[in-house]
Symmetry: C2
Subunit: 264 residues, 2 copies
């Protein structure tokens, strides 16, 4: 511990899984892990036998304000010691062989971790050292392995990136944001009557200027214009702007026409 | 371009979205972005006005073998130039204000990108500079914004982490891995008959040694033992090991018993 009390507020800390870095090598990575954890709402960090000892200034410098996670982490001599008070432990592992073990996707693991924590059990997530990954004894200490679905031709995943994916899935497992919404801020989506009102204005001016003078083609042309303006989910404010555009284009041409008549 | 042809194989390159880094500052981050892209099956990278020029050796050093992405990237003076040949552009953006725009989650964006690419349209993803993020003109050039659901109390997301989340979602949008499977490798899940056979062996030995001598309690004790061994989805190989354990424990005690009789 460095005894600091700095860094950013990182939000409420509930019963969330403990991230356990097993024999981490680079302090930079430990800092980046803390930042990724804060991004995804994971706040409890433990280190097992960090190669270069602890604390390391570089970790704080690379944490972008997620200091509280580093200030509060604990250091343990073994995986058994770091997991002794936990009820369920998952281990991230890219390519396990010759073992019998449940394997979860990151999304599957996040859903199960939410259930475990909702039952007031304590969960942990093991991440191996940068080069070697977790060894066979580490994996045997886990209830299940977590294997991310990623490009099998390029599985070299940075430690902080591995934590980021798991933290992101942890957060999104409880998130209910719609996949697509229209952000309207100060305005609102226009009603069909408002869209029709604008289209009536536009078509009247197009009739007046001769754009729709071809009578046989007129119904199809009007429909195509309607199709276009119905596609974009216009807002009330945007329709007012479009009304203004049509009016000004008409005025502009009339003025220009008068000038041309006057000048010509 | 550096003219190299090194680095790892990164898998087949199909019609996948172009990652566009707008005014990136640090070559280290550009390398880390390439690595994250390769992890998630994104292969096309473009830079708009990189602060320190291009190429930068540090990018290759930080790409962990994703050299092909860096070797092939293109540099552009403006966002308009970098997106000119694309049909659909999404912009990642943590906190847009005062604008009317569709907003997608990372998962929603990935699903739409898969649809766009399946229609043989070309898509791009804009990521802003490390400190400032995308500016208002950059966002106006996009069809939709992408906003990750993450801890609102700590939104400071590293550039390569932002690309990692999007690349991960791109990959998982087409992935069909089950959330939980039992990896059995050389063996297989045991049938109920095999589990019953083991339980019969165990209960017979427990009867023989007196563990189940309390007759009124015996049915409940046997059921509890059955509950435990039914919970873990045993494999055929593990049952053989358990048979062996029971047999050896019995033998061991019998030998010990004989020794005690002989010695006592």
């Amino acid at each position: 511990m460095t005894g600091r009390d700095g860094g950013a507020d990182i939000g409420p800390i509930g019963n969330s899984p403990v991230v356990i870095l097993v024999r981490p090598q680079l302090a930079d990575n430990i800092g980046a892990v803390a930042r990724a954890m804060a991004n995804g709402g994971l706040f409890h960090l433990r280190l097992v036998a960090p190669r270069d000892g602890w604390p390391q200034e570089r970790a704080w410098r690379n944490a972008s304000g997620a200091d509280r996670i580093l200030d509060r982490l604990s250091v343990h001599p073994t995986v058994a010691d770091a997991t002794a008070d936990l009820h369920r432990v998952f281990a991230t592992c890219p390519r396990p062989r010759h073992i019998v073990k449940p394997v979860l996707t990151a999304r599957g693991a996040a859903a199960e971790l939410r259930e475990i924590c909702a039952r007031d059990l304590r969960a942990g997530l093991l991440f191996g050292p940068e080069r070697a990954g977790l060894d066979n004894d580490d994996m045997a200490a886990a209830d299940a392995l977590v294997r991310y679905p990623l490009n099998p031709a390029f599985m070299s995943l940075n430690l902080a990136q591995a934590v980021m994916v798991m933290a992101y899935e942890w957060w999104t497992a409880e998130d209910e944001t719609l996949p697509r919404t229209l952000m309207t801020n100060e305005t609102r989506v226009a009603t069909k009557a408002e869209v029709d009102n604008f289209l009536g204005h536009l078509v009247a001016e197009l009739d007046a200027c001769g754009f729709l003078a071809n009578r046989p083609k007129r119904p199809g042309m009007v429909r195509n214009i309607r199709h276009f303006f119905q596609r974009g989910e216009a807002t009330e404010q945007e329709l007012r702007t479009l009304h203004g555009i049509v009016t000004e284009l008409v005025h502009g041409r009339r003025s220009l026409g008068r000038d041309e008549e006057a000048g010509g």
